[in-house]
């Protein structure tokens, strides 16, 4: 199934890690345009390492990654940045940039080496802020925003980069409930636009709510890949987390079905 050629993003048996130590052992998956993929697993299972291998921050020891049937290792950094964008966990900066300046930085891969962004680039950045409904923050200092707002700014930056794949490192990790919902809405907006969103998470309920596909990792090995309802079962979760777990279905007052993972 992974070998189908019409998949937007295709990952074949990649291995790699830090220095000589292999952390990720043979991960394969395929995602279509407009899908969100959650990479799930406990702390230290290799989620972040996998993300770094996909982004070519770390060198793969084995395996290939194809985007629209092009091997990503053959691209230079600038070209790669037009296809893959990265949404890190939002840190504060040493330098007081405004939100608009932060988002405009996404245009770097679209301009010449000695050039600066022009009006058209600023306009593109403003449009992305508009799309995430944070254009009122354009002239605010990035550092003085809340964690959730900063994360939204980084999502706007990735959107402005114009890539087909967006990779997020634990986008909701340090956010309160309302801010997590803001990020969830942003992820849904991106997939609706046909983007592929790959995000790491350590919350086993999140893939049900947010992702079309889930990749379950344990200790660097791929435990399962597929639709969350197939992969996240009592048994697979218990083996990964080492806790008695149960996937329960609940119905809300609008008769919507939700699946939640519980630790018994």
């Amino acid at each position: 199934m992974v070998r189908e050629d019409n998949l937007e993003l295709r990952v074949e048996n990649i291995c790699g890690g830090y220095g000589g130590r292999e952390v990720v052992h043979g991960v394969s998956f395929g995602v279509e345009a407009g899908e969100a993929l959650a990479i799930l697993g406990p702390n230290g299972c290799g989620k972040s390492t996998l993300l770094r291998l996909l982004l070519r921050f770390l060198v793969k020891t084995k395996g290939k990654v194809y985007c629209r049937n092009i091997n990503i290792d053959t691209m230079d950094r600038k070209k790669f940045a037009r296809i893959f964008s990265y949404i890190p966990q939002s840190d504060r900066m040493q330098f007081p940039y405004t939100v608009l300046e932060m988002v405009t930085m996404a245009r770097t891969c679209h301009i010449n080496s000695l050039a600066s962004p022009k009006k058209i680039d600023t306009k593109a950045a403003l449009e992305c802020l508009e799309r995430l409904r944070i254009s009122h923050l354009a002239d605010s200092f990035y550092n003085l925003l809340s964690g959730g707002q900063r994360q939204l700014v980084l999502i706007a930056r990735a959107l402005c980069q114009g890539t087909c794949v967006l990779l997020m490192d634990e986008p909701t990790a340090s956010l309160d409930f309302a801010n997590q919902e803001l990020i969830a809405a942003a992820i849904r907006l991106l997939t609706k636009k046909g983007k592929i969103v790959v995000f790491t998470t350590h919350s086993p309920s999140q893939p049900f709510a947010l992702a079309h596909k889930v990749l379950l990792l344990d200790n660097g090995y791929q435990i399962g890949f597929g639709v969350p309802a197939d992969i996240l079962t009592n048994r697979s979760l218990e083996s990964v987390y080492g806790l008695p777990m149960e996937v329960v279905s609940v119905t809300d007052r609008n008769s919507q079905q939700h699946k939640i993972c519980l630790n018994l």
Binding site: Y86, P96, Y97, E101, T108, D139, N143
Partner: protein, 338 residues
């Protein structure tokens, strides 16, 4: 939806750059009047608009050979150090560094002193100054990135170790130098003074400073990206290692040329980028020209003070340190939560 404007937003100051450009044109003219030999504003006016022939010969000589080169040197050094300081802060992602904190000043002085000791020509002295600066900044960066402390602190500590080392070697060179001839010229360097600037030394250093500033201005957008962490920069399509190397080389080139011209003039590279960022924001597209003009005006004013506060000239390096040290203390204490 309407949101109230609050002080979390950047203040736009469209008047800032025009004001600084005007100041950069007017200040040098005022500065021509200042000095031990009294020259009236009328004479300066005549000199500018009617040429050297319109004023007395001695006035024309003083303006042409002494005051004008010195004013241009002060402005160029101030602008060059402010621009290179901004570049260092961006390349090392650390707003607390400057050329004399990471050891470039001391390394360049050591190189230049070595050149003077060996009796080399102006070109070789400048080249040795550049090499000395590059060596110290490279070592400081590598030691700093391997130290086990927080990265920002490590770089500052490694820089102070490198500058101490360079200064001790400089002391050894002073000890070896001829007390009648070479020693005074080395000591003059370490104090930082524009008193000995003449047309030929100016022409020699002005070109590298100007060239370096233009190059950094062309790289102004990359300076923004370099302040992000390296993974971020990579994901935006920029090779941060390559650009950091380039930016540090160019900044060191500017610094060593400025040091060859005016000796050790400290603190401008630290203070002015902060002032410029406070006025124009962090975006190097806006702050770099502001830093350059502000730096030029600042050193020109301080040099005017240096040559007019007392009958004896005060070394300008001493005066910039007098302003710079309290500024650094305020910066450390009031540093915004980053």
């Amino acid at each position: 939806m309407s949101f109230p404007k609050d002080n979390n937003q950047i203040k736009k100051r469209p008047w800032l750059l025009p004001l600084l450009i005007a100041a950069s044109l007017i200040l040098p003219i005022i500065s021509l009047n200042i000095g031990f030999y009294g020259i009236s504003p009328r004479e300066v006016f005549l000199f500018i608009f009617k040429g050297a022939g319109a004023v007395a010969d001695n006035v024309a000589i003083i303006i042409q050979n002494i005051r004008l080169p010195r004013i241009i040197a002060a402005f160029a050094i101030g602008a060059g150090l402010a621009v290179s300081g901004s570049a260092y802060q961006s390349a090392f992602k650390n707003p607390l560094v400057s050329e004399n904190i990471i050891g470039v000043t001391q390394g360049a002085s050591l190189g230049a002193a070595l050149g003077l000791l060996l009796g080399l020509g102006a070109f070789m002295v400048q080249l040795l100054a550049f090499c000395g600066g590059i060596v110290t900044v490279t070592l400081a960066f590598f030691i700093g990135s391997r130290a086990r402390f927080d990265r920002d602190v490590s770089l500052v500590l490694a820089g102070s170790v490198m500058s101490a080392l360079a200064l001790s070697l400089l002391t050894a060179i002073k000890y070896l130098a001829d007390a009648n001839d070479t020693l005074p010229s080395i000591v003059y360097w370490t104090m930082g003074s524009l008193a000995k600037v003449n047309i030929s030394s100016l022409a020699f250093s002005l070109i590298p400073i100007l060239f370096g500033c233009i190059l950094l201005y062309l790289l102004r957008w990359k300076l923004n990206i370099l302040t992000l962490d390296d993974e971020n920069a990579l994901s935006l399509g920029l090779n941060p290692y390559l650009y950091r190397l380039l930016v540090v080389m160019v900044a060191t080139f500017i610094c060593s040329a400025a040091i060859c011209l005016g000796g050790q003039i400290g603190w401008i590279g630290l203070m002015l980028p902060h002032l410029a960022r406070g006025l124009a924001g962090a975006d190097h597209r806006k702050m770099l020209p502001v830093a350059a003009l502000l730096g030029g005006c600042f050193l020109l004013i301080v040099d005017n003070l240096a040559r007019s506060l007392s009958a004896m000239e005060i070394p300008v390096g001493a005066l910039t340190a007098l302003f710079g040290a309290p500024f650094f203390i305020i910066l450390l204490v009031k540093r915004k939560p980053a």
